[in-house]
Amino acid sequence: MNAREIPSAIRNGETTAKEVLETHLKVIQNREEEIHAFNLVMEEEARNEAERIDALAAKGEDPGPLTGIPIAVKDNVCTQGVPTTCSSKILDGWRPPYDATIIERLRDAGAVIVGKTNLDEFAMGASTENSAFGPTRNPLDTTRVPGGSSGGSAAAVAAGFAPLAIGSDTGGSIRQPAALCGVVGVKPTYGRVSRYGLVAFASSLDQIGPFAETVADAALLLEVISGHDPLDTTSIPEPPLDLSTALTQGVEGLRIGVIDELSGGAIEGISDDVLGCLEDAVQALTSAGAIVERTSVPSTVYGLSAYYVIAPAEASSNLARYDGVRFGPRVDAKTTSEMMVATRTAGFGDEVKRRIMLGTYALSAGYYDAYYGKSQKVRTLIMNDFANAYKKYDLLLSPTAPTTAFPLGDKTEDPLQMYLQDICTISSNLAGHPAMSVPFGEGTDGLPVGIQVLASAMDEHTMFRAGAVLEASNQGKS
C-alpha cells in the first residue's frame, strides 16, 4: 500500500493504524539486523501513537492527512524524550527536552514515528559509513552503501520499513541516497521547511525534506512539513505547499535545460550508464511535450570547492557547543579546557574532526578572505548563473549521483572521492533552490539510477510536475 492510500483505508475502516504499523514492524524485524537503517526503533511509542490514532478514527474524527502512516525520522531531528544522537558518540544518552517543529507537524498530521534512522555522523558523508554505530547497508544489494548522509532514511523506505521518511540535505544528503536506493527524495527551497529542532551541520545550507516510494507520497509529506515557522527566522513566510495539481499537470510546453557541465561536459566522473539514463529521461520528457535542450551553468564546476569551505566553516562553529559542559558524555581532565579537548577528541569521528579543522582554518584571521570570503563570492556567482538559466528554462535536469550504489569501504580511505558523490547536488544547496531525485532506469549493475530535477526558488510545483512525468515513464518501462 502506498503512503497516500493508508489514511483513507483507516478512515474507511478497511484497516487500522495498529495493523499498518504491525505489518511494517514485521518487515523491520525481518531485515533490520542486516540493513541497520535505524539507530532506534520506537516500537512502544509507535504502538501507543497508532492506538491513539485508531481511537480518534473510531470516534469519527480525522487524525490528519498522514493518518496512521509509519514514518522514519533521521536521527539528527530532535524528538522530545527520545535519544537524538546524530550517529555520534558525543551525543550519547542525550534526550532533547523538545520536539522539532516538523515532529510536531507530523504528530498533528497523524503520522506514526517508527524510529530514528542512521546517518553519517552529524550528516557529514555520502555513504552512511561515518556513523559511530556502524554503517547502513543498501537494501537492494547489501554489499553496497545506501548513500548518505540520510542513508538510514533512504534504506528504510527502500526496504519497506516505512513508506515515508524524513531526511536532511546540506549538499545532497537526501537526493544522493534516494538515487542509490531507488526511492524519491526532495530537497525543498531553503526556508520552505522549518529547521527548528534539526541539529545544525551547516545552517545556511541545511534543509529538511521527504523520502517516499512515489512522487505523490513525497508531495503529501512535503505539504505537511512545509510552511512558515516563527521559531526559525530563516523560514519563508508562506503557507504550506499545495502540490495536488502538480502531479497530474504534465510537462507540456515546459522548457527544460540539461546542465551541460554535469552531463558529460566539464565535470568528469559521471558514469556512462548514468548518462544513458539521463538521455532516456530527456526522451521521456520530450515525448511528454517538454522542450528539452542542453545548457551551461558555468559556475557549477566551482560548487564543490566553495561548498567544502562554507559547510565546514559553519560546522566548525555549530559543533563547538559539544564541549562536555552541558549535555552528552564528558571525559574528565585536570582543567576545563583539557576536559573540553578530551571530550571532543573522544566524542567526534575522523570525518567530523577533519571538517572542524578545515572550517576553523578557513575562518582564521589572515585566511578568511582567501577561503571563506572567496567561497561566498563563488556562491553569489552560482546564484547568478542559476538566475540566468531560469530566465530561459522552467526547470533544469542532471543526474543525481555520478554512479549507482558503490561497495562498502570503496571510498572510505579517500575523502575526496567521497566528496565527489555530491558533485551534481551541491549547487542547489549553495543557491538555496529546490531539487528532487526520481528513480529512472538502472545501471549496468542492475542498481537504480536517480535523475535530478532542479527548479528555481519557491517553484516546487513545476518541479513535481516533471517528477511525476519521469516516474510514470519509468514505471511504464518496467
Binding site: C78, P97, Y98, S203, T233, A320, D323, R326, F327
Partner: protein, 477 residues
C-alpha cells in the same frame, strides 16, 4: 588630576560599556530576562544552546537599541549579526551572537555636562553569557576545584557602546559613564546598575607625552565594577605605563584585570595570546533592516534627554547646565522645574535638592516643596527650621504649615523680636559698642554673637537674616 600625578604626560582613555537592555525576555528566546532568581531557572533550549535550537530576534531589544543609537546621535542602519567564536563554559554555544562589521548604530557622540563632545564609534546588539563561579583555588578558573555555571544571564540582550579615545582623565571617564548611564535610564533602555552587573565597563588606557598627537600602546582593563574602581584603575594603569616608559621600556599591548582588593591591574593575556574569534555572519538570522518609519516613530517617542534637561533647568533657574548636572543625573529635574513653576525661589530649590534631598524626595510632593520654600523666603521659617520641616516632609509627607506648627515653629513677630534684641543689647553693652564701632570683620564677629544669643533665647525659631537686618538698622540709627 592626572596632571598632578603624571607631570608632562597625557592619559588617553576609550571606554567600552556593556549595558543589559530592559526587556522582559531574552535577545533570542522567550526565556525571562530578570536579575537574581534561583540559578538555571530562566532558561530554555535557546539559552542553553541545545542542539537544534534557533535564535529568534526580540523586537523590543531592537527598539531599545535604536533608542540608544538615536540618543547617542548615531546613524541607525541595516545591520548583520555575526558569530564570535570562543570556548568558555559559560558560553552555551561556544559562540556569542554579536554584530561585527555592520553594527545597528554607528558614528555618534555624547555631550558631557561641561559641553565637550565625546565620540561614539558604535553601539551594537549582542547576547550576554552565563555566569561561572569557580570554587576553590582563589576563585579563578585555572586553579579551581570545580566550577558552577548559571545560565540565567545567558542570552540577555546587551548593547555594547564603544566610545572614541576622547577622554583624558579618570574624572572624564567617570563623567562619561555617569552621563551614559543617565541617558540609558532616561530612555528606559537599561536600569544601569553597575553593582548588579547590568552595566559593565571595559577601559582602554594609553599614555603619551603632553602635546604628542600620536597614541601610545594601549592596554584594556577589565573587571571594573563601580565608578570608583573605574577612576582608581585608570590612575593606576596610567601611572604603571608612565613608569614603564620613563624607565626606558615599552608598554606591551595587553588585556589586564583590575584587582579591587590590591588596587592594581594584572596581566590577563598578551597580544599574542589574544583570541582569534573567527567572526562570520550568523546564518541562523536574516539581516536586520528597520524601516525608516519605525525609526521615526521611535525618534518621536524619545523622552527628553539629560543634555536637554540640563539646559531646561539651567534656563529656569538662571544657572549654567553644568551646575544642575547632578540634579538631572538623580532624575530630580522635573521635580525642580515643577516647584519653580509653582513660584518657588529657583536658587532655594537648587540648594535644597543638592544639599538636603540628595537621597531622594521620599514623600515630599512638588506642592509641599514649593509651599515650604515660600514659607522660607517670606521669613516665616528660618533656614534651619525649613530644613527640619523638609526632613519631616520627606519622611512622612504632609502640609508644611502643619508640620511647622507641630514643631512649634511660628514666625516671630518683628516687634516681638525687636524687643528681645533690645534686651540682649542692654545686657551686653560692650559687645554692642564693638558691633557699632568695629570694622567689617569685627562687626561680622559680633553679629554672630548676637544672632547666637537670639537663637538661644528663641530655641532657633528666629530667622537669622531678619535678626541681622534689625541689628544693622539699630546700629545705623
Amino acid at each position: 588630576m592626572t596632571g598632578d600625578i603624571l607631570d608632562g604626560w597625557e592619559t588617553v582613555i576609550g571606554l567600552e560599556v556593556h549595558a543589559e537592555l530592559a526587556t522582559n525576555t531574552k535577545l533570542f528566546s522567550s526565556a525571562r530576562n530578570v536579575f537574581g532568581g534561583e540559578p538555571n531557572t530562566n532558561i530554555d533550549p535557546v539559552s542553553l544552546g541545545l542542539p537544534g535550537s534557533l535564535p529568534v530576534l526580540n523586537k523590543k531589544a531592537v527598539e531599545l537599541a535604536i533608542r540608544v543609537g538615536l540618543a547617542l546621535n548615531c546613524r541607525v542602519q541595516r545591520s548583520v549579526f555575526a558569530r564570535k567564536n570562543y570556548f568558555y563554559p559559560d558560553m552555551p554555544k561556544a559562540y556569542q551572537i554579536s554584530q561585527f562589521d555592520l553594527p545597528i548604530n554607528e558614528g555618534g557622540w555624547l555631550e558631557l555636562p561641561d559641553g565637550r563632545q565625546i565620540g561614539i564609534e558604535r553601539a551594537h546588539l549582542e547576547e550576554d553569557t552565563g555566569k561561572s563561579s569557580h570554587v576553590g583555588g582563589g576563585g579563578r578558573i585555572h586553579e579551581a576545584d570545580y566550577s558552577l555555571v548559571d545560565y540565567n544571564r545567558a542570552g540577555v540582550p546587551l548593547i555594547e557602546i564603544v566610545g572614541a579615545p576622547d577622554l583624558r582623565s579618570a574624572d572624564d571617564a567617570r563623567e562619561y559613564v555617569a552621563e551614559l548611564r543617565s541617558i540609558l535610564v532616561a530612555i528606559g533602555a537599561s536600569d544601569g546598575k553597575m553593582e548588579e552587573g547590568s552595566m559593565r565597563v571595559d577601559c582602554n588606557v594609553s599614555v603619551r607625552p603632553q602635546g604628542n598627537q600620536e597614541f601610545g600602546t594601549r592596554c584594556e582593563v577589565k573587571n571594573i565594577n563601580s565608578l570608583r574602581s573605574l577612576g582608581r584603575a585608570i590612575e593606576y594603569e596610567a601611572r604603571r605605563q608612565v613608569d614603564i616608559i620613563t624607565s626606558g621600556q615599552q608598554v606591551e599591548q595587553q588585556t589586564r584585570h583590575w584587582d579591587e582588593a590590591d588596587g592594581r591591574t594584572h596581566t590577563l593575556r598578551s597580544k599574542e595570546e589574544a583570541f582569534d574569534y573567527r567572526y562570520f555572519s550568523e546564518p541562523d538570522l536574516v539581516p536586520l533592516d528597520p524601516s525608516p518609519e519605525w525609526i521615526t516613530e521611535i525618534q518621536e517617542s524619545q523622552p527628553s534627554l539629560p543634555r536637554q534637561r540640563r539646559i531646561d533647568l539651567a534656563k529656569a533657574s538662571k544657572t549654567e547646565p553644568r551646575d544642575v548636572a547632578l540634579i538631572v543625573q538623580k532624575d530630580l529635574d522635573e521635580f525642580a522645574l515643577s516647584a519653580i513653576e509653582k513660584g518657588a525661589d529657583a536658587s532655594r530649590v537648587l540648594v535644597h535638592l543638592a544639599n538636603n534631598l540628595a537621597d531622594g524626595v521620599g514623600h515630599l510632593t512638588e506642592d509641599a516643596f514649593a509651599a515650604l520654600i515660600h514659607l522660607e523666603t517670606s521669613g516665616d521659617l528660618s533656614a534651619t527650621q525649613a530644613k527640619t520641616v523638609l526632613a519631616d516632609l520627606v519622611d512622612k509627607g504632609g502640609d508644611p504649615d502643619q508640620v511647622a506648627a507641630d514643631h512649634g515653629f511660628e514666625a516671630m513677630d518683628t516687634s516681638e523680636l525687636d524687643a528681645l534684641i533690645e534686651s540682649i543689647i542692654n545686657e551686653h553693652p560692650d559687645d554692642w559698642l564693638a558691633f557699632v564701632q568695629g570694622d567689617a570683620e569685627e562687626r561680622k564677629k559680633k553679629s554672630g554673637f548676637f544672632v547666637g544669643q537670639v537663637m538661644k533665647m528663641t530655641k532657633g525659631q528666629a530667622d537669622g537674616k531678619v535678626v541681622n537686618d534689625i541689628l544693622l538698622h539699630r546700629a545705623e540709627n
